[in-house]
């Protein structure tokens, strides 16, 4: 009696259980494959290849107070490529980012647009001086560079809806991207400055390097998931998970440091900025959420709330039902 029972037990229970375990292990291995591709080394080739004096003549005078002279960090005169034409800076940069000023033909349209939408707060000449010589509500915009104007307008922060607000919030832009560039062309024509509008070349970007640079430089304010967070005195770091945020805007924000955001100049090379941009627009804006539910990526409070209320609450209800006498 004993032996057949044992055999039966083996056949009907132990054998299937063993097979099931093997199958479960195999499926686990399929689900969580080892993360093979790690961070590869990221050479930061930075070399001066242009003669600043020679190009200065062709480029006219350019206000470079907003950028560091360290090579390939957004300064035209220490960039690998520099194109100037008849006393005007056309474009500069390298394999990672091309910075380009809007074409001079945009200036006329920009002047008209500026008079209609911006001059009441920034003055007719964008210098922060009103018609009566008094200071305007908005700051002086001369010498900020095309990237600054393009960032504030294309992200919808300008024109502002509430000029007394602590911080202009991102909203759908009232102007088209081309109109933003026209405004940038006009403002930049008054006092040519850099940075010009950055166009990152994301093909060669290293997202792994971008992720580690993001955690070091950006995550303190924008949080590690890019969800954004409140800061001091009514200000906040906006969410970067918003897919309307373009690579161009991320690169602009890093280089110009809008409002309370620090300005990253000589400490981030163009290659590093490109890696961060690639990580933000490629990864942060498209989270994989292996758990299925990201909960906005706002951190352990939201997750704990859901776990306690829905998880534990649901379990309690099930326990009540199981334990209740029918």
């Amino acid at each position: 009696m004993r032996a057949p029972l044992k055999r039966k037990l083996f056949r009907q229970f132990l054998l299937p259980a063993g097979l099931l375990t093997v199958a479960a292990m195999a499926s686990l291995a399929v689900f969580f494959p080892g993360t093979g591709a790690g961070a590869s080394g990221h050479a930061d080739a930075s070399q001066v290849s242009t003669n600043a004096k020679a190009v200065l003549k062709a480029c006219g005078s350019v206000n470079t107070k907003g950028v560091s002279p360290i090579p390939n960090t957004g300064n035209p005169f220490t960039s690998t490529n520099l194109i100037c034409h008849s006393g005007g800076l056309i474009s500069y940069g390298n394999d990672s980012i091309t910075y380009a000023n809007p074409p001079a033909s945009y200036v006329a349209a920009g002047r008209q647009l500026f008079a209609q939408t911006c001059s009441s707060c920034h003055g007719n000449e964008a210098n922060g001086v009103g018609p009566g010589g008094q200071a305007t509500i908005g700051p002086n915009l001369q010498g900020v560079g095309a990237a600054t104007v393009d960032f504030w307008v294309s992200s919808g922060r300008m024109p502002a809806t509430d000029v007394k607000a602590v911080e202009a919030e991102r909203k759908p832009s009232r102007l088209t991207p081309k109109q933003a560039l026209e405004l940038a062309a006009f403002v930049n024509s008054l006092d040519p400055a850099v940075p010009a509008v950055p166009y990152p070349h994301l093909q060669g970007a290293n997202q792994s390097v971008g992720a580690s640079l993001f955690s070091l430089n950006c995550a303190a304010c924008h949080t590690i998931t890019g969800a954004g967070d409140a800061l001091a005195f009514g200000t906040n770091a906006p969410s970067l998970q918003n897919r309307a945020v373009t690579p161009q805007q991320v690169a602009e924000a890093i280089r110009i440091g809008p409002a309370n955001m620090p300005r990253f100049s000589g400490n981030l090379s163009d290659a590093q900025v490109r890696d961060i941009v690639s990580y933000v627009t490629g990864r942060l804006q498209h989270p994989t959420n292996p758990g299925g539910f990201g909960l906005g990526g706002v951190g352990p409070v939201a997750e704990g709330f859901v776990a306690l209320l829905i998880g534990v609450g649901g379990l309690a209800l099930v326990c009540f039902w199981i334990g209740e006498r029918s």
Binding site: N260, F264, G266, R325
Partner: protein, 325 residues
């Protein structure tokens, strides 16, 4: 021994009463067992469909929601069906199981006590040895367990918490080991720097030999183009408007990495302590009890930013032996 054998079956002789189905305590599990059975059957079929869907989602690599939802739905349906089966189709109690008589037969007890008496002498001697060994084992355990207690009464940490790797002449470098130049940052810029006092240049490549501690991390901020004085007595600590503070919060040691360039405030992300970088990082708000320690800055011969001295106080949160304020 034959007596004991006679008494052996006494355990099975006692009948174990089981609640009969006609027992008045036994309530009806379900008023309509047939209907419940149908429902449970449907639930099990639903579980099968869900599991099939989960399998298909796995093979076809559909999205995680389909796979997780199907797997979860299937398991829930299985569990629901089993629980409902137990609740509504199984007879419900209360059931009473009577115990059999616990006491042994009288002669069994007699022979047991006789055996004990007969062997007492031997048993006691053996117990002495075992007892001694047990006491020795427990004693050693007790002594070892007291080690941490004794150690905690021992030498105090000394100046371990007061020291850091910043020395006079330490070059400020970023996380990639690159030194910071006069023009690395423009106004409104911030970066995290570490000390590298041993700098070696080979074929134009700069390498460093010593490693900074986590507590050495320092925020370098450029506030203006001109030097300024954060607090009296710290003149010439901020060349070209560069100012450096310990990144370790004096409250609980979080990295104070948030810099608001318009407000010129460093903010700690953990408890919102705010430090004004212009006036020596005195806390403006929040639970931080002390200002962030400031690092005096200067330049070396090669034009790299260096610390002209170490921090003048311990870094990070307060501790018992801390003497400086």
């Amino acid at each position: 021994m034959s007596d004991a054998a006679d008494h052996q079956p006494s355990r099975t002789r006692v009948p174990i009463p089981v609640a009969a189905l006609s027992d008045p305590h036994m309530g009806d599990a379900a008023r309509h067992p047939k209907r419940v059975e149908n429902i449970i059957a449907v639930v099990f079929v639903v579980a099968m469909i869900f599991f099939g869907l989960a399998g298909a989602a796995y093979w076809q690599n559909w999205n995680v929601w389909t796979f997780g939802g199907a797997l979860g739905g299937g398991l829930f349906a299985l569990g629901f069906g089993l629980t409902a089966w137990g609740k509504y189709l199984m007879p419900q109690g209360p059931f009473v199981e009577e115990r059999h008589v616990l006491a042994s037969a009288p002669d069994e007890r007699d022979s047991m006590s006789a055996a004990l008496v007969e062997r007492t002498a031997v048993v006691v001697r053996r117990r002495k040895v075992l007892g001694g060994l047990f006491a020795a084992g427990a004693g050693i355990f007790g002594i070892v367990a007291a080690f941490p207690l004794i150690r905690s009464l021992g030498p105090v940490p000394g100046d371990e918490l007061d020291v850091n790797q910043w020395k006079a002449g330490s070059v400020l470098v970023d996380s990639n080991g690159r030194p910071v130049r006069r023009d690395t940052l423009v106004i409104g810029g911030i970066m995290t720097v570490y000390p590298r006092s041993q700098m070696r240049v080979e074929d134009g490549q700069v390498t460093f030999t010593d490693q900074g501690l986590a507590t050495d991390q320092t925020v370098l901020v450029r506030v203006s183009n001109e030097p300024f004085t954060t607090v009296p007595g710290r003149e010439n600590w901020t060349p070209d408007g560069y100012v450096a503070y310990s990144k370790v919060c004096t409250h609980l040691g979080c990295p104070v990495g948030l810099y608001e360039q318009d407000l010129e405030l460093l903010v700690c992300p953990c408890h919102q302590s705010m430090f004004n970088v212009r006036n020596g990082a005195v806390p403006q708000f929040g639970p931080a009890p002390r200002p962030l320690p400031q690092l005096p800055l200067g330049y070396n011969d090669q034009g790299y930013l260096i610390a002209t001295a170490s921090y003048d106080q311990p870094l990070g949160p307060g501790f018992f032996e801390r003497t400086t304020t």
